[in-house]
């Protein structure tokens, strides 16, 4: 999690409307906070920056400190804007022993970014992640909510190229 201070993330009126709609669910279902925050994150560059936390805090009455503490704990969140596609590459042991490194290198090379970075066109963010629970189909990755299984370096590169071309919309 990147804790460096940056300029505030700009929230457009349309996005603010969406955030208000989603955050208003909190009052009736506080146990759905995780889903609510994840849904909001989808509206704001796959991230939960300070300005978003401030807005959500006003609506839900949850202190900003608690929101910041919450999102900085869970791997699914980011405090800095991310790409349209968050590519998460598993590097737990069962993928590791099935050749995950080669797959990760191929993805990194094709996208031109290293884990933790976002591509210049803002389309891709590359991340390491831990076990995705599809070890029977290792090596595996996730792109947003979709799992890709039984990858080889070649298949992974082709998959990334498909995404880059826009074939996966």
């Amino acid at each position: 999690m990147d804790h460096s201070v940056t300029n505030d993330y700009f929230i457009s009126p349309a996005t603010e409307k969406r955030i208000r709609e989603i955050a208003s669910r909190y009052r009736k279902e506080p146990h759905q906070l995780m889903n609510i925050l994840l849904d909001i994150q989808r509206e704001t560059s796959n991230s939960f920056p300070h300005s978003v936390a401030a807005l959500v805090s006003r609506i839900t009455k949850i202190p900003e400190a608690d929101l910041y503490g919450f999102v900085s704990f869970y791997a699914m969140f980011s405090t800095k804007p991310r790409g349209k596609y968050v590519v998460r590459m598993c590097h737990s042991a069962p993928c590791h022993v099935c050749g995950a490194q080669g797959v990760m290198d191929a993805i990194s090379k094709t996208l031109g970014i290293r884990p933790g970075e976002t591509s210049k066109d803002g389309k891709f963010t590359l991340e390491y992640c831990q076990c995705l629970g599809v070890c029977e189909f290792a090596p595996a990755i996730m792109v947003n909510d979709t799992v890709y299984r039984n990858l080889t370096p070649g298949r992974a590169a082709t998959l990334m190229e498909d995404y880059q071309r826009g074939d996966m919309e």
């Binding site: 999690m1 460096s4 201070v5 936390a53 900003e64 400190a65 910041y68 503490g69 900085s72 704990f73």
Partner: protein, 574 residues
């Protein structure tokens, strides 16, 4: 009752008691770090682990409930090994600069290391908790390299003060306590109350030191260094220098300060009395002329900042009176400078406070004139104690010296400003007489005294049933403010102090536990009883000041010098 054995010794405790409490009953000391008697149990440092017969895991004595028949060992080889390994892990993340740390000598990590005789170098390479050293706040200095992530600061800021300026962030090795979204503390919603400093076991959070500018100016022949001393300081200073809590040391304190180098030592109790005259007049005016009620006290800068941030719509309720500290500063740089024929910029106006928020108050742009600050430096009790020690002064054998004139006379009413309920009691002693023309039968108004979060009192004054409330601790302030906001109160006047217990519990005092507060509190009222004059409006020096210089309370000149305005800071929440 629960019966168990600790280190072979039998002990009986109430149901619900922890192993730590059971051991304490036997005078067996188990080291702790994250544990604090005035906070919730955290059980994260793992230093207090003990061995429980029949259990493979060691158990934290701070949280584990005593049960019948338990057999506990507090320093078995298994416990000692684990405890030492854990301490070693902490030390391998801890800045090793005890020699120049403000907390050296009172640091809990130091005590634990000493107690365990941990004298070896950790077997791991030192990895700083973070490179962050944050000196952006005028009140509190942050050094994350000394943090042991106990969470005591976040607890007091969120749960007790309800400010929520600090956040527990990140996960694992990178986990750290930071201001919200890592803004520098001085730019965050921190209200500068310094309770986090009181809660911190190490030097991770300390009072920002302003002693250097004062030492420096002592040596400048062209400058006059003038100090004012707050009511609470004469009670907590001796404690900072090793005496029991509640030791009053007014005379010795003044002697020490003179010897350290202050040219004049004045009494903030004097301007506390002045504040009562101004604020009392303001209150009477609001009650009689349909002014905004309830009126809220304005001498606590942390409370002011809290109001400006969280309740800006209630700012019109605040008294426009400056705090006693700032009234003093204004007088020093105008009336006093004129009287002595010195230029205001050649006076270093220093206040000695039990407070960290006063260090923020002194920086408020509206508190000065012509580019000259009314208060140039604020020293906390901790800093004054440091100066006295480093000047080689033995405090316990000093003779007494009185405060200097013309600002050395304070009444008992001024003195009780140091404790929660004091401002209210002082105000009532004066307002009652001003309105009814009669003195209160009993000027010891017990209803507003004590450590309870919210207290109430009322008095009939010439047909008006005046209702007042007193709160201490910002969590309690928030409760009352929510009621005021909703129009659900009928108070005329509310006293609000940010620190639990009032100024005697302030962030700049020696590190406290709530158990000490009663002693400090008792000392405040003892001092009040001993003083010859106990009502602000009877202070002859205050009367003289009005006659000679100010005119009348809330008059033109009083308003210019002794009243102020406030800022809407709710933008900090955006």
């Amino acid at each position: 009752m629960i019966k168990l054995t600790i280190d072979g010794l039998p002990v009986e405790v109430e149901e619900g008691a922890t192993l730590l409490e059971a051991a304490a009953k036997l005078d067996i000391h188990i080291p702790t770090l994250c544990y604090h008697p005035d906070q919730n149990v955290k059980a994260n440092c793992r230093i207090c682990l003990v061995e429980m017969e029949g259990n493979k895991l060691l158990v934290p004595s701070c949280s584990y409930p005593a049960q019948n028949g338990m057999s506990i060992r507090t320093h078995s080889p298994k416990v000692r090994r684990a405890r030492r390994n854990i301490l070693e892990l902490i030390l391998a993340r801890h800045a090793q600069d005890c020699l120049h740390c403000d907390r050296s000598g009172t640091c809990e990590l130091q005590s634990v290391s000493e107690e365990m005789h941990f004298v070896k170098i950790p077997r791991y390479p030192y990895v700083a908790r973070s490179a962050e050293s944050d000196h952006s706040s005028p009140s509190v200095a942050r050094d994350s390299a000394k943090c042991i992530t106990c969470g005591r600061c976040e607890y007091i800021c969120s749960e007790v003060q309800t400010v929520h300026a600090l956040s527990k962030t990140g996960r694992g090795f990178e986990m750290q306590f930071r201001p919200v979204y890592n803004r520098p503390l001085g730019e965050s919603i921190c209200v500068n109350c310094g309770q986090c400093v009181q809660a911190c076991p190490t030097g991770a959070l300390t009072v920002r030191d302003e002693t250097q500018v004062v030492w420096h100016t002592f040596a400048d022949p062209g400058k006059t260094v003038v100090a004012q001393v707050a009511p609470a300081v004469r009670i907590t200073l001796a404690e900072a220098l090793g005496e029991p809590p509640g030791s009053i040391s007014t005379g010795r304190m003044i002697t020490a300060m003179k010897r350290v180098g202050f040219h004049k030592v004045f009494d903030t109790d004097f301007t506390a009395d002045l504040t009562i005259l101004e604020e009392g007049t303001e209150l009477i005016d609001r009650i009689n002329n349909g002014g905004i009620l309830p009126m809220l006290t304005s001498c606590c800068p942390a409370w002011i900042k809290f109001c400006e941030t969280f309740y800006p719509e209630l700012l019109p309720h605040l008294s426009t009176c400056k705090s006693p500290q700032q009234m003093f500063g204004a007088l020093l740089k105008t009336y006093y400078a004129e009287k002595l024929g010195i230029l205001p910029q050649d006076i270093l106006s220093v206040s000695v406070m039990p407070c960290t928020a006063k260090k923020f108050e002194e920086t408020r742009p509206e508190l000065g004139r012509n580019g000259i600050r009314d208060i140039d430096a604020v020293l906390s009790v901790q800093e004054l104690a440091r100066m006295i020690r480093s000047a080689g002064i033995r405090f316990d054998t000093l003779p007494d010296t009185p405060f200097d004139a013309p600002f050395g006379l304070g009444t008992g009413a001024g003195e009780i400003f140091g404790s929660t309920g004091g401002v209210m009691e002082a105000a009532l002693r004066t307002v009652y007489e001003l309105v009814t023309g009669k003195a209160l039968r009993n000027i010891d108004i017990k209803a507003v005294r004590g450590l309870e979060g919210i207290k109430e009192a009322s008095a009939d004054m010439n047909g008006t049933h005046v209702k007042v409330a007193v709160t201490n601790g910002l969590g309690n302030a928030r409760k009352i403010m929510d009621l005021v906001k909703a129009g659900k109160t009928d108070y005329h006047f509310i006293e609000i102090m940010a620190c639990p217990g009032g100024c005697i519990g302030g962030g700049g005092n020696p590190i406290k536990e709530n158990a000490m507060m009663t002693s400090r509190l008792d000392a405040v009222y003892r001092l009040d009883k001993e003083l010859p004059i106990r009502k602000s409006h009877e202070n002859p020096a205050v009367k003289a000041l009005y006659e000679e210089y100010l005119g009348e309370p809330n008059g033109h000149r009083s308003h210019a010098l002794l009243h102020t305005t406030y800022i809407n800071r709710s933008g900090l929440l955006e």
